[in-house]
């Protein structure tokens, strides 16, 4: 099957702006799923609200387009009732880490087998360019016309600290790495987080004079480095790409099953 077999072509061309990184995330996810040869019937996409979350509407799998910040909560419900399914949870940076931040860290702590994808454009794209917890200090947004004084999260560090057992980062420029990481994240048993730096030329780009989508991808190319490279010691502003954590820990649904068995035996 080609990637086109995994989409609902009737909804194309999609709604995203020209050059929106979210389309490339869709592309790479489909490429990963095709590579893994997964059956459409075994995949569930669960998303919340945002430009990023619209991804669920475009893929021809089981899909739930739910409410803002609650994708992980719905996904937890699906996984608990049907643990055999592969659950992918694409979220925006606001969706995952502003309104959804608490769900996010606790799902990581529980190590429930979900693949969380944070499509990080450092802005609320859908609602017109308000700053998010990922915008970071000095960034302009419609709600920070001078500049933002909030510091941003580091999604990878946050996820590691919260207990996620697979944590990785890549960008829409580095599509081969991104596809590879998606494959590993989907196969990983436990809570996996993939942060994708994904350009929003329309709001983040315009507000911050970051140029076109191409310019923003040039930025990803020139300002990110493979994890562990020496260049980071000389320039701490460089952003690391790669896999930060990949470890085995008991998975939540399996542990829950054990408790059910114990309780039944006591019956």
């Amino acid at each position: 099957m080609g990637v086109k077999d995994y989409i609902r072509t009737r909804f194309f061309p999609h709604i995203w702006c020209p050059g929106c990184g979210h389309g490339t995330v869709l592309n790479s996810l489909l490429t990963a799923i095709e590579k893994l040869g997964l059956s459409k019937n075994d995949i569930v996409f669960v998303s919340g609200i945002g430009c990023s979350s619209r991804i669920s509407g475009y893929v021809d799998f089981h899909t739930l387009h739910t409410i803002h910040g609650r994708a992980v909560a719905f996904a937890t419900g699906v996984k608990m009732s049907r643990p055999g399914l592969n659950i992918i949870v694409p979220m925006g940076d606001g969706d995952a880490l502003a309104i959804g931040g608490n769900h996010f860290i606790h799902a990581a702590r529980r190590n429930i087998d979900l693949t969380a994808i944070v499509m990080n454009n450092r802005i609320y794209g859908m609602t017109g360019g308000q700053f998010s917890p990922l915008s970071g200090y000095g960034i302009k947004a419609t709600t920070a016309p001078y500049y933002n004084i909030d510091h941003g999260f580091d999604i990878a560090e946050l996820s590691v600290a919260a207990g996620a057992t697979f944590v990785a980062r890549s960008t829409t420029y580095h599509v081969k790495q991104l596809t590879n990481i998606f494959c590993k994240a989907i196969l990983h048993k436990g809570f996996s987080v993939v942060e994708v730096l994904s350009q929003c030329p329309t709001y983040f780009g315009r507000k911050n004079n970051a140029g076109s989508a191409v310019d923003m991808m040039e930025f990803y190319k020139n300002n990110t480095i493979p994890k562990g490279s020496k260049a980071k010691e000389e320039n701490s502003d460089l952003i690391e790409r790669g896999i930060f954590v990949q470890k085995e820990l008991p998975e939540y649904c399996e542990e829950y099953d054990k408790i059910i068995k114990i309780a039944k035996n006591r019956g």
């Binding site: 086109k4 194309f12 061309p13 020209p18 979210h22 592309n27 599509v175 076109s212 989508a213 191409v214």
Partner: protein, 80 residues
Amino acid sequence: MGRPELKEHIINKDWCKGCGICVHFCPKNVLELDSDAKVYAARPEDCIYCRLCELRCPDLAIEVKKVTFNERKDKIRSGQ
């Protein structure tokens, strides 16, 4: 001696939004935007089939295939 492998760029003009990502990042400068801001393969003979254009396109609007001379719809003019 067999014929060199040809590449065909299949472009969905209804989906292409003219963002220029594929054009800018093609390592062989194969692609260009036309006057309607839709992509086309201006120098298909230079294509090395890395498929980066296809993998990066946010709109799933470009696909690259290896084809034989007879299969290729817009056969290359130069020297074949």
